[in-house]
């Protein structure tokens, strides 16, 4: 069934680009252009997936494309990539934000340009791999590959307290993935013991049978790794520090993609592997998600640093996404997956805007802002727009996701969903405070600063269009997600069932 390995190309193109970027040490501009070209090519390749006729003939279930190669045969590791609707829109987001991450670093990153792009692009390969890998060992490799470059991005190109932030990030991530690795190997051995087959293929491992305590322990180990990445309270504290100190591109990738890999892995790996444990522990996830939504939304109100504020708002939004996952019906899952894209767009845009502001004013403190509408109206217009999208204004993207999650939750757990609706109030309170203290009011002895440049508009306008597209006409996207979720009513296992 293997024709041209298009998925493999999409995954490894950025890595090749990364070495290319490393090669052009001398010429910064060439390095930037090369990276941009690579990401745009990748984006075009992903778009071409939409046009390609899906290889449905010999692929069961909801898969659009599967590429399967033998790799480390003795260990049972295969190189399996598979694409369904959920992966498709997530890799579209990945390549799009990847290109944007290169663009936002154009002026911001001036030191060690070529290693910066090396790390940035190799991270893209990691993220793309996570969204496509169907072999759990391969998944683990990609999972690590996406984390390590971020360590350097924050540690080398970050702001003030970057070493503390990046070490914290690394410690959290590594502890999570170590636990996951142990569980992964345990699962592999258990399966080998039961069936006599050495494999890491997700759909084979799904047939392992467990006693309840064993399943719970395995599930908890995977969930810990994923919860740290999402991040779910109480293991979220690395995120505000990492965001605050990261360069803009780092924040974009972090908020837009890395957090999504946590949710995606929960959806694709953890729940299908351990469906019974997932069912048992879903109330816990639900409560953690809901609590996190209020907790982080509340803390966001007290923040002084704009980036830290948006970081906490991210935790709050991710909480709602986890709620949708924990409830697990077609409506909430569609909402959660759509909300991953929505959040990826709006929060990235907010971080980008804050980065642009930081380049001009060298401050992100709310107490030093105010009256920006008068000083830089265009920037302010975009900031207002994306804040409104983020607070769930109908007609813009986040609204659709929120409605689907909350209404879907309501049909099963009306009490908790009603509380969840109240979260909309928490969001609006910190968002409006942020707007009031940054945009409105008097601008006191502010130096003259330039409004958005053409390059910056090129970055923001596609994001803007994305917000409108997903807010006004989410039908096609929801169709793609819905097709992938089609088998879900029967059993969650189908979601990960490859041939």
């Amino acid at each position: 069934m293997n024709t041209f390995p298009l998925l493999g190309t999409i995954v490894f193109l950025p890595l090749m680009g990364a070495f290319g970027a490393l090669a052009c040490r001398k010429n910064d501009l060439l390095c930037r252009r090369l990276s941009l070209a690579v990401m745009l090519t990748d984006l075009i390749l992903v778009l071409s997936l939409f046009a390609l006729a899906p290889q449905t003939a010999d692929i069961p279930g909801t898969w659009l494309r599967v590429e399967d190669f033998s790799w480390m045969a003795s260990l049972g590791v295969r190189f399996t990539l598979a694409l369904d609707g959920i992966s498709l829109i997530l890799i579209l987001l990945t390549t799009g934000l990847g290109a944007i991450a290169v663009l936002v670093s154009w002026n911001e990153i001036t030191d060690h340009v070529s290693p910066f792009h090396f790390f940035l692009l190799s991270m893209m390969t990691g993220v793309l791999g996570v969204f496509l890998a169907m072999d759990v060992f391969l998944f683990y490799l990609f999972w690590e590959l996406q984390a390590i470059p971020m360590f350097f991005l924050i540690g080398v190109w970050g702001h003030g307290n970057r070493i503390y932030a990046t070490v914290k990030f690394a410690l959290f991530t590594i502890s999570g993935s170590l636990v996951m690795l142990l569980a992964l190997l345990g699962l592999h051995l258990l399966h080998a013991h039961q069936s006599g087959e050495t494999t890491f293929a997700l759909h084979r491992l799904m047939q392992t049978s467990f006693t309840q305590p064993v399943e719970l322990i395995f599930f908890a180990a995977f969930v810990l790794a994923f919860a740290i990445k999402i991040p779910l309270i109480p293991v979220h504290t690395w995120l505000p520090d990492a965001h605050t100190e990261a360069p803009t591109a780092g924040s974009v990738i972090l908020a837009g993609l890395l957090l999504k890999t946590g949710v995606y892995a929960l959806l694709r790996i953890a729940v299908p592997l351990f469906p019974h444990a997932a069912q048992t522990l879903s109330p816990l996830l639900l409560v953690l998600g809901l609590t996190g939504m209020f907790y982080a939304g509340w803390i966001a109100l007290a923040q002084e640093d704009l980036k830290r504020l948006v970081a906490y708002s991210s935790i709050s939004h991710m909480g709602l996404i986890v709620v949708g996952l924990a409830v697990w019906n077609v409506t909430t899952l569609s909402g959660s997956i759509l909300q991953m894209i929505n959040h990826g767009i709006t929060t990235s845009a907010l971080f980008i805007l804050i980065g642009m502001l930081d380049e001009r004013l060298h401050t992100r403190k709310l107490s030093e802002l105010g009256g920006l509408w008068k000083t830089i109206p265009l920037w302010s217009g975009f900031f207002l727009f994306f804040s409104l999208a983020s607070l769930g204004l109908p007609g813009l993207n986040n609204f659709i996701g929120e409605v689907l999650i909350l209404v879907g939750t309501f049909t099963q757990r009306p009490g908790l969903a009603a509380v969840g609706f109240l979260g909309l109030l928490w969001t609006v309170i910190y968002s409006l405070r942020m707007l009031r203290e940054s945009l409105w009011g008097e601008a006191e002895n502010r130096p003259d600063i330039a409004d958005l440049t053409r390059r910056e508009l090129t970055i923001l306008i596609p994001l803007c269009l994305g917000v409108f597209w997903l807010g006004l006409h989410p039908g096609p996207t929801l169709n793609i997600i819905g097709t992938a979720l089609a088998g879900l009513d029967v059993t969650p296992e189908l979601l990960a069932h490859t041939p």
Binding site: P394, I400, G482
Partner: protein, 635 residues
């Protein structure tokens, strides 16, 4: 019909989009023309739709919006007489306010932003009016909130304006949360989100379920319509430009809550208890607003509290089951209140942004046209006989009076008391501003010139304030109650009051006498006054006046019992819980491993002799354990 309704919605939206995208490249005149034309066209289209459709109900889908599983939402239109009459009113008042704004905002440089949001507001309001399902309605509902936020805070450099906008958004958002829950409830209980579906399903709901859904709809309405206990945002909303106050915070948006309850009245009336709750909230708000309006000194705040009070009457009417009466008052209120606000705008500009009525006076000489216009508005607000306000308020009082439940009799007597206060504060405002002498110290000898068309556009409103009673002229005035018959197609709307002519006439006579007497009292106290002080007894001045003037300290209550604790909690969660317990706890965990590593590091001393001895020790240990294992374990 579909193209007409589609265009009716599109024109204002198109105006807003053009202003937003290319407004900065257009001349001022072009922006103004686009804004006014788009809304005026909407009015023409609303008129066309009104005449084309008659009393038929149109339910159609413009486009698909989103769907997941069985949950599907489209951009549906539901156009019935209720929507028709409301759309007509909204577009008519909006057109006049747009024309007026061209004059009022003539010195303002940021006119593009102003007209963009004003156009967007008209679009969103029309969505509320014509939406065919709850989610689409919610889109309009939130968007009017956004426009209100943006326009209250239009002069964003003033901290109080930015603050008032934020406050309005947050308080109304509290209602929106309830709206969201109502959507989820309807979906869960009825499997329906469309207006028609809800109307059909409403009868099958039990009283409890209808009461619960209705309760959340009511909460949403209370937020938007600034009723007790969420009335606090409206007086502050006066920080916005005066035409905005006229359109959004008097004539249209604040009545959206009432309209929501009318739209889903089949659910509301399913629960008799809920009806009583609505009526009680209405009556409390009526009194609250009237008493607070009586002692304000800022002309816009008087009108704002008056709006709160008048919208309370509409709630009261709904609580008495009289949808048509509520709609009648909604329309007549829209005319006279926008007239009063726009008139106040003229006064404020003529007196160089003065808003305190006790620094005005004698304006009947310097602004004679405005005098007559304002008189028409004041008479309608005070419900003087034969004005629109007289008929519409009387119908509400009659409907409450005719309720069989004795409790309604109590509500009726309280609302009659409040109705007596209304002409008092209305004429207090009027006499203080237009009679007496002008204050030479604070007031320029001749008012600043204002464009004559700002006065001219008020004439239609003045005529309607006086004559809109014809819409629903009672039978004993030889009318045929047109509005009641027109709304017959709306479920639960048309209520024949079945009052005997004797009662009706007696009631009208009674209220006519009361209003005239109260107007007279206002004349005695405020008619010829030159002193810029209120005349009230001493005890009132010291004890009650501050209470009324501050809106019963509702604001202060929220400030100290909700806002301050909320802020404190935010800081507590951040400093104590998040960076305190959680983060410190996790850091401690990390430090534990660090200390472990430090201990291990002590072994690396660098002395060869120690390493050699340690190697041998280790080797010996391994050997021992191997031997032991060989002996003990059966390998």
């Amino acid at each position: 019909m579909k193209p007409v309704l589609f265009l009716l919605l599109s024109f204002p939206l198109l105006g807003a989009v053009i202003s937003a995208l290319v407004g900065r490249y257009l001349s001022r005149r072009a922006v103004e023309t686009i804004a006014c034309t788009s809304v005026a066209s909407a009015f023409v289209l609303a008129l066309t739709a009104f005449f084309l459709s008659g009393q038929t109900v149109h339910s159609l889908t413009l486009a698909r919006w989103f769907a997941a599983g069985s949950f599907q939402v489209n951009l549906d239109i539901y156009y019935d007489p209720l929507a028709a009459i409301m759309a007509l009113m909204v577009t008519f008042v909006s057109s006049l306010v747009h024309l007026y704004s061209v004059g009022y905002m003539r010195h303002e440089n940021d006119y593009t932003r102003y007209f963009c949001f004003l156009n967007l507001f008209v679009f969103a309001m029309l969505v509320i009016v014509m939406a065919g399902n709850l989610v689409f309605l919610y889109l309009g509902w939130e968007t009017v909130g956004l426009c209100s936020y943006a326009l209250i805070g239009f002069w964003y450099e003033k901290p109080e304006a930015a603050h008032a906008g934020t406050k309005a958004f947050i308080v109304t958002r509290l209602g929106d949360v309830a709206f969201g829950i109502a959507i989820a409830l309807c979906w869960t209980a009825l499997g329906q989100l469309s207006v028609t579906g809800i109307h059909e399903g409403a009868s099958g709901l039990g009283a409890t379920m209808a009461g619960i859904i209705g309760f959340f709809l009511l909460l949403a309405a209370i937020g938007k319509s600034a009723q007790i206990p969420l009335a606090v945002w409206l007086p502050d909303a006066m920080a916005g430009p005066t035409p905005v106050s006229a359109l959004i915070h008097a004539a249209t948006m604040v009545t959206a809550g009432v309209y929501l309850l009318m739209r889903f009245f089949p659910i509301i009336r399913g629960s008799a208890f809920l009806m009583v709750v609505i009526a009680v909230i209405g009556v409390i708000t009526v009194c609250f607003g009237a008493v607070a309006a009586l002692v304000q000194q800022d002309i816009k705040r008087i009108l704002a509290y008056s709006t709160i009070s008048q919208v309370g009457y509409m709630f009261l009417a709904l609580g008495a089951g009289d949808v048509a009466g509520s709609m009648f008052h909604l329309i007549s209120h829209a005319f006279f209140k926008s007239l009063l606000f726009l008139g106040a705008g003229c006064i404020i500009q003529a007196l160089h942004e003065e808003q305190n009525i006790f620094r005005m006076g004698g304006l009947r000489h310097s602004m004679p046209h405005l005098f007559w216009l304002f008189l028409a508005g004041t008479a309608a607000l005070g419900a003087l006989p034969v004005t629109a306000g007289f008929f519409s308020k009387d119908r509400i009082l009659l409907a409450v009076f005719l309720q069989p439940n004795l409790f309604y009799m109590l509500l009726w007597s309280v609302s009659v008391l409040a109705a007596a206060i209304t002409p008092l504060y209305a004429f207090r405002l009027f006499f203080v501003v237009f009679y007496g002498d002008s204050h030479a110290d604070t007031q320029p000898t001749s008012p600043a010139p204002i464009p004559p068309w700002m006065i001219r556009v008020l004439w239609p409103l003045a005529v309607l304030s006086v004559a809109a009673g014809l819409l629903n002229l009672p039978v004993n005035w030889f009318g045929n109650e047109w509005l009641v018959h027109y709304l017959a197609a709306v479920p639960g709307a048309a209520m024949e009051l079945h009052a005997s002519h004797r009662i009706e006439t007696a009631m009208q006579l009674g209220s006519a006498v009361i209003t005239i007497i109260m107007g007279g009292i206002a004349w005695i106290y405020f008619g010829g006054r030159t002193q810029p002080e209120d005349i009230f007894p001493e005890i009132f001045q010291t004890k009650w006046r501050p209470l009324f003037q501050n809106g019963f300290y509702l604001d202060r209550f929220y400030q100290s019992w909700i806002i301050a604790p909320y802020r404190a909690m935010a800081r507590f969660l951040w400093h104590r819980v998040d960076t305190g317990w959680v983060d410190t706890g996790l850091n401690q965990g990390a430090r534990f491993f660090l200390n472990l590593a430090e201990m291990l590091r002590l072994w690396t001393t660098g002395r060869i002799s120690q390493y050699v001895s340690m190697t041998f020790t280790g080797f010996a240990l391994i050997l021992c354990s191997l031997i032991l294992a060989w002996w003990v374990l059966p390998i």
